[in-house]
């Protein structure tokens, strides 16, 4: 087993030169001794030589989008051999599974340590308190977010109180057009949230915008959140600027409100850029050079202008996994990245917009 290039194991706070880091990662993943079977099997099928031809992040577009193959690949084959026979695994996690069978990745503890160091720094920058308990209505099971945040909360010195969410079931209900059933599911979540909110010392609330909105139908819970909760972290879907402003000014003026954006294909999440005003979109900076984004015009295969919307391409480059050039279904606004960061910052990530067709309905109304 060859020695690991130290650039792949830098501690949090030391940022490698991105392209140098990328080349080291390519060497790691495409070496017989250290690479994962997944990549070694596919290396011959590539129409280029990754070791010779991939010099910069811009070259990642040479890679075909292999994310679909993550639906069927043996999970073990995703783990680089360089970790030896007993790597410390956090878990095997699925993508949402909105379209077809879920895509699967393996998260190693080494990476999660680095990710959580970044998360902690971001949450501190937002003023999210440490040493408080979190109440989280987020998915567990095959979804990465549950396992990641339980570790995060423990590291920050709090207890995790959880209410489970099954996003795939919710999507099925909505796809069937059963809005009432979907509403009942959300009520079911609120019913569960109310107990720890009443009886426990909850300092941070983590949930989706629709659940938070629904919680606000109940005055008792609004009062409890006002009294106890010092930070609210919203994740999973969009929160429009008007609603965000209402939370900050009328509903929960004393709590920190910040959001997280996670994606299984980048093995984690980031928090919004701290210090944004209510009139700015929620901007997510990459955890560069590990988790990076490009916002592109799909037809032209080039970046859209800053401020314009386009499809999101994500890259994960790390020691534990290499997953470049993964085209997401989502659209985002391309935002200029902070100095030294690779790719783009993104804002207003959302699925393809749908339009109401104007059709004639008889009658005068």
């Amino acid at each position: 087993m060859s020695a690991t290039d130290p650039i792949l194991e830098l501690p949090y706070g030391v940022t490698p030169d991105p392209d140098e880091f990328l080349r080291a990662a390519i060497r790691w993943h495409f070496s017989e001794e250290t690479g994962a079977p997944f990549w070694l099997e596919r290396a011959d099928r590539l129409e280029f030589d990754p070791l010779a031809d991939v010099r910069t992040f811009d070259d990642l577009k040479l890679f075909p989008n292999l994310a679909n193959e993550l639906r069927d690949v043996r999970a073990e084959d995703l783990i680089p051999r360089g970790y030896g026979p007993r790597p410390k695994v956090v878990g095997v996690f699925d993508s949402g599974g909105t379209t077809g069978a879920p895509k699967r990745v393996v998260m190693l503890q080494e990476w999660l340590d680095l990710l959580l160091a970044h998360s902690n720094a971001q949450l501190d920058a937002h003023g999210v308190p440490r040493d408080v308990n979190w109440l989280m209505a987020i998915p567990s099971g095959p979804h990465m977010v549950g396992a990641s945040f339980q570790q995060l909360v423990a590291e920050r010195g709090g207890l995790s109180f959880t209410v489970d969410v099954d996003p795939r079931w919710v999507k099925k209900i909505i796809a069937r057009g059963e809005q009432t059933e979907a509403d009942l599911y959300t009520e079911h979540l609120i019913d569960q949230l109310q107990h720890p909110l009443r009886s426990q010392d909850i300092g941070v609330l983590m949930l989706t915008p629709p659940v938070l909105e629904r919680l606000c139908r109940r005055d008792e819970l609004v009062d409890l959140v006002r009294k106890k909760v010092r930070a609210i972290m919203w994740v999973g879907t969009q929160l429009d600027p008007d609603t965000r402003n209402l939370y900050r000014t009328e509903l929960f003026p004393d709590a920190v409100l910040c959001s997280g954006f996670g994606n299984t294909m980048t093995l984690g999440h980031v928090s919004e850029r701290p210090g944004l005003t209510d009139d700015e979109p929620c901007v997510y900076d990459p955890f560069s050079p590990y988790m990076t984004y490009n916002v592109i015009d799909l037809k032209e295969r080039r970046p859209v202008e800053y401020g314009e919307r386009g499809r999101v391409v994500m890259h994960y480059v790390g020691k534990s996994l290499f997953l470049p050039n993964n085209l997401e279904r989502d659209f985002a606004t391309r935002i200029r990245p902070l100095p030294g960061q690779v790719g783009d910052a993104v804002a207003d990530i959302a699925p393809v917009p749908e339009f109401d067709d104007e059709k004639v309905i008889e009658g005068v109304y």
Partner: protein, 466 residues
């Protein structure tokens, strides 16, 4: 059309703590496509909290409600409200909704009158045996007390015509708190009305204006105890099983001309019933059913309706509705598709006449349907569009006369038709029956439009004491 154009007017939501200006706004355009206003759209959370505030608010005492309503009607009709004079208001509504200016003015009169006499309509629904207060002496031996079925009424309003906004004023008179979700095409009327009500005594948490996009509309209804909803057949079906929602659906107003009636003597009346206010109201006739040969009447209607001028909606002489060209064309396509199999007397080649300044007039259409089984006569469209069809009392019977908001009957023999009228008055799907020389759009505050709103808003309960 652009001489009045300045900065688009900012039309705020009117929330329970005052006006609310959202970041998310929708541009309200006139029928030429020129921007007229920026309407703030409230997010779901705002709606949720606003409805909660309405629930917490206590109604004003009756006397103060009535005084505030009456004064609000005057302010609405005469004063400058939120920077908009009455004259600017009526022209803006005409330009934006395409409703002929004289119709807008008439609707404003109607709203002002309803505000002044809201109790006339509201107390119309009061059951004969009921008292208004549990303190009434009659409760000492047991009496029905008339009480609200719920405290908060949501109105999902339509933009076809301002006049429906006259109706929910009755709810305010009865003590309900009211949330209006305005039409995004014509939010000016409810905005002006709610602002006037707040200026004359109603609290901000008694009546609110909550413009929302389509996705948030249901939240307005959900947060209310009772809802009044305007819409087409799909909306009627959606809420059919919900006793807390009163739907004002298609009117499918009809005029029946029975055998022997001298329709020539009533031609003005029939034309008026079809084309009143540009044919945009639910009480404008969609069908004229003739016992006998419908062709001569269809020809006469075509001649009269064809003479109506094509004018911009804000012209003092405007009589036909104006729409953006694209929407007008969509309606025209729908009409011509529906009209297949019917004989055109007017409008067979189309009904759209584009105006030089932009927008398009929807000109009248008269089609003669071969029968009632084909269903042509149920196609209600928002302009003077009438289906003239033969009706036989023996082979058709009264079934095709049902599903009607107003049924005008021009009888050729009142004695012969008395039994027919009995059937029509008894038919639960016929909301109103007008016999003789009364246009289908005749209304009065004291009589119900589609039942009394109070039948829906109120209930009786027994109180006995002492």
């Amino acid at each position: 059309m652009t001489e009045r154009m300045t900065e688009p007017h900012l039309l705020d939501a009117l929330g329970p703590s005052g006006p609310y200006r959202a970041r998310k706004r929708e541009t309200v355009t006139d029928t030429t496509g020129a921007p007229v206003a920026e309407l703030s759209l409230t997010p779901r959370l705002f709606v949720t909290r606003a409805l909660a505030a309405l629930h917490k608010a206590a109604p004003l005492p009756l006397e103060r409600r009535l005084a505030a309503l009456a004064e609000a009607g005057r302010v609405f009709r005469e004063e400058t409200v939120e920077g908009l004079s009455y004259e600017e208001y009526e022209r803006t509504v005409a330009r934006v909704s395409g409703i002929p200016l004289p119709a807008v003015r008439s609707a404003a009169d109607e709203i002002a009158d309803s505000a002044r006499r809201a109790l006339a309509g509201a107390y119309g629904a009061l059951p004969g045996g009921a008292v208004l207060d549990w303190r009434d002496a009659r409760t000492r031996t047991g009496a029905a007390v008339w009480t609200r079925r719920g405290e908060v009424l949501a109105v999902n309003a339509a933009g076809n015509h301002p006049a429906p906004h006259a109706l929910w004023l009755e709810a305010l008179a009865l003590g309900h708190r009211v949330a209006i979700r305005p039409s995004r095409r014509e939010p000016f009327t409810p905005h002006r009305l709610v602002a006037a009500l707040r200026a004359t005594g109603f609290g901000d948490d008694h009546v609110v204006l909550l413009p929302t996009d389509h996705a948030v509309a249901d939240e307005v209804l959900r947060g209310a105890d009772l809802s009044l909803v305007y819409g087409g057949d799909d909306v009627v079906r959606k809420y059919a099983a919900d006793p807390t929602v009163l739907v004002q659906g298609p009117g499918r107003t009809k005029v029946l001309v029975t055998e022997g009636a001298d329709w020539r003597a009533h031609l003005d009346l029939i034309v008026d019933s079809i084309a009143h206010h540009g044919g945009v109201k639910c009480v404008d006739a969609t069908a004229v059913l003739v016992e006998g040969d419908p062709a001569p009447l269809a020809r006469a209607l075509a001649e009269r309706l064809g003479a109506l001028p094509s004018l911009p909606a804000d012209d003092e002489k405007a009589a036909l509705p104006v729409q953006p060209v694209e929407r007008a064309r969509a309606l025209e396509r729908h009409l011509l598709e529906r009209a297949k199999g019917a004989t055109a007397h007017l409008g067979g080649d189309g009904v759209v006449e584009e105006l030089p300044g932009g927008g398009a007039v929807l000109r009248p259409a008269v089609f003669e349907a071969p029968d009632l089984k084909g269903g042509w006569h149920t196609a209600e469209l928002p302009f003077p569009c009438v289906w003239v069809a033969p009706w036989s009392r023996t082979s058709d019977g009264t079934a095709p006369l049902g599903d009607t908001l107003v049924l005008g009957v021009l009888s050729g023999d009142e004695d012969r038709d008395a039994g027919l009228v009995d059937t029509l008055v008894a038919d639960p799907t016929v909301a109103n029956v007008y016999l003789g020389e009364h246009p289908t759009h005749w209304m009065d505050r004291g009589v119900p439009h589609d039942g009394y709103l109070g039948e829906f808003l109120m209930r009786t309960k027994t109180v006995i004491r002492g």
